[in-house]
């Protein structure tokens, strides 16, 4: 479309404001800029509240990254806002009650990342049990000819796995580990009637830990699940037990985890998330029965591309008054 005035073009594009910015924005900024007029608060010297007052009075749609905090205060400064598109499956950073009060609808990543996150959970678990990262360091530091044999790992097959939260991610993790010969049980807010017959339900998190060798944390972070995995749960899991967390750091009481690991009260841990990312307890860096990763469970080329298309599709639906592609289901809302 030949047009000599690029500024006019941009003016015709629908306007969105971006909070974060989210990782996806770093990889697809050009594409977003070509489809939307994008407000970027982080590029402004103004504090957020002033920026919003000056620029976003008429902004109807927002893209929200997982590190941004859409509090009631921020939402109240966006009088025209009607849509938030979250780039994550997790929604603990968005005041959903305030959204409902203001008539703002929320779309999210739904189960887009579930396969990648489940793959990463299995990868972390195998790494902890079979010492993959530690073995890789051992070989690459030239130690194999010097020190000879390597300490034995732990077999995954036959282990009892407790899935904490049997949503989309929990189900994908369970499906994978079942193929390795693991016995699956779960703890969830409600019994899942659709669940395959061979998953045993356990009613309390404590009981699940007592009857498991491995806990896979797969639930959302809410008031109820905050610090749910505490010292009691870890002691119930026991000194051979392994905890894998690929959802939100806040589900685990981090200080208690560090203590249990240091005292060998649990056997090991695979952690992609932490309470105060990117900070984490430096004691974890000293432990070799721990595998650490920088909130990378969703970071694949494929998922970023899929996410881009999903986000754009949600915005396009909104701007043409069509139903959203991935609205947050009603039962998620408090």
């Amino acid at each position: 479309m030949a047009d000599n005035n690029p500024a006019a073009d941009v003016q015709q594009l629908p306007e969105i404001i971006v909070f974060g910015p989210p990782t996806i924005f770093g990889h697809y900024e050009k594409e977003f800029n070509s489809r939307f007029r994008v407000l970027k608060p982080w590029e402004s010297p103004l504090p957020l509240s002033q920026f919003l007052e000056a620029q976003a009075h008429n902004t109807r749609a927002a893209l929200c990254g997982a590190t941004a905090s859409l509090t009631a205060a921020v939402l109240c400064s966006l009088p025209s806002l009607r849509l938030i598109v979250a780039t994550s499956a997790g929604l603990d950073h968005i005041d959903l009650i305030e959204c409902r009060r203001q008539g703002i609808v929320v779309a999210y990543a739904a189960s887009l990342f579930s396969a990648d996150v489940a793959d990463f959970a299995v990868g972390l678990l195998l790494d902890v049990l079979r010492k993959i990262s530690a073995g890789n360091r051992f070989v690459k530091n030239g130690l194999w000819p010097v020190r000879g044999d390597y300490p034995l790992g732990v077999k995954l097959g036959g282990k009892r796995v407790g899935i904490v939260g049997l949503g989309s991610i929990g189900f994908e993790v369970a499906k994978r580990l079942e193929a390795f010969g693991c016995e699956i049980s779960y703890h969830s807010r409600e019994k899942k009637s659709c669940v395959l017959a061979w998953f045993h339900i356990q009613m309390s998190i404590h009981e699940l830990a007592a009857k498991s060798d491995i806990l896979a944390i797969c639930c959302a972070l809410t008031e109820q699940t905050h610090h749910m995995i505490n010292r009691d749960v870890m002691l119930a899991l026991g000194k051979e037990g392994v905890i894998v967390n690929i959802v939100r750091g806040g589900v685990i009481e981090e200080k208690a985890l560090v203590t249990c690991l240091q005292r060998a009260e649990i056997g090991g841990s695979g952690l992609d998330v932490f309470e105060h990312e990117p900070r984490l307890p430096k004691e974890l860096l000293q432990l070799d029965n721990v595998v650490l990763s920088p909130h990378a469970a969703v970071l694949t080329q494929e998922s970023m591309e899929d996410l881009y298309h999903l986000l754009v599709a949600n915005f396009q639906a909104f701007f043409s008054n069509k139903p959203l592609i991935s609205p947050v289901p009603h039962h998620y809302l408090p």
Partner: protein
């Protein structure tokens, strides 16, 4: 437990202290590594040795078998038989046993663990956090594992177990082996180049024989291509290591997860600096559970032999 007191068993190296203990309880155990040289050991014990317990590191070659006139059985602490001269055993009427099945799960788990670690850069993630780099920004994008096409070379017990696990991730499975397996519905390729061309993750899980030595050569690596990764939990000699190192250094394949090497414990140092390569010190069956199951099977085979009962897992 019967003490078959005088039966002399030669153990070729310190493969398992649990196995040593179990053998010492039942037999007279001669430990090769406790002699300064092999010839001194043989001078002293050769005439007393009725059984050899060997494994992937030190087996029983033609020369050793010839120097043991009373040898009746070789019980290998492994499923692989590439370190045993099987022809010589057949010639001399020597029985051979190995440890199939008990290690299948662990080796298959190691293959999947290596594949995920390589594609999802888990070792690099761990290093990134430990080097305190996270505060400076996000980690990079990796490659999704679910849904990838897996090409398996050798669809035996281990290959089948790998396939079963990969299917739970939505992966498609194809394979190459000497003959098509009619009880399997996976796509079969009668030649390995076609398999490598048509898969994204090539997994080596066949036994090492004359035919499969260097089965993964330059042609196969080129066919696998710049987006492909190689996973080897078979034997280092399955792969032309020199060509593999070159392919990795020049990006002709995307990465590799390797548990085995041509000249263990020596690994080409040019692989050490590559983040798209995950290296393990031959630990495919090295878990507490499997090591003791393997040891128990070695002992059970030897007991059966000396009590004139049927061997549990005979090869010859």
């Amino acid at each position: 437990m019967v003490k078959m007191g005088n039966a002399g068993i030669m153990m070729t190296y310190e493969m398992s202290s649990y196995l040593e203990q179990q053998l010492e309880k039942r037999f007279t155990l001669f430990k090769l590594w406790e002699s300064p040289t092999k010839s001194l050991f043989l001078d002293r014990y050769a005439d007393s040795v009725r059984a050899v317990v060997g494994s992937t590191k030190e087996g029983a070659d033609s020369e050793l078998i010839d120097s043991l006139p009373r040898l009746e059985i070789i019980a290998s602490y492994s499923v692989g038989l590439d370190k045993i001269d099987l022809d010589k055993c057949r010639e001399r009427g020597i029985r051979v046993t190995n440890t199939p099945d008990v290690l299948t799960d662990d080796v298959a788990d190691a293959a999947i663990g290596l594949a995920i670690a390589t594609l999802r850069k888990i070792c690099a993630c761990d290093g990134f956090v430990r080097s305190r780099l996270w505060r400076n920004g996000d980690f990079e994008l990796a490659t999704k594992f679910s849904g990838k096409s897996i090409g398996i070379v050798g669809l035996g017990r281990i290959g089948s177990a790998i396939a079963k696990r990969a299917e739970a991730f939505g992966c498609t499975i194809s394979y190459h082996s000497r003959t098509k397996k009619h009880n399997k519905s996976y796509k079969y390729y009668s030649n390995i180049i076609d398999l490598a061309t048509n898969c994204e993750i090539l997994v080596i899980s066949c036994s090492l024989t004359e035919e499969t030595r260097h089965i993964v050569n330059r042609g196969v690596l080129d066919a696998l291509g710049p987006k492909g990764i190689l996973i080897n939990i078979g034997r280092g000699q399955h792969v032309d290591e020199h060509e593999l190192v070159s392919a990795l250094r020049y990006g002709r394949i995307a990465g590799a997860g390797l548990d085995v090497f041509e000249n263990e414990p020596h690994v080409p140092e040019s692989l050490f600096g590559l983040e798209n390569v995950v290296l393990l010190p031959h630990v495919g069956s090295e878990t507490v559970e499997t090591s003791s199951a393997m040891a128990d099977l070695v002992v059970a085979n030897l007991e059966a032999h000396f009590l004139n009962k049927p061997l549990l897992t005979p090869v010859i």
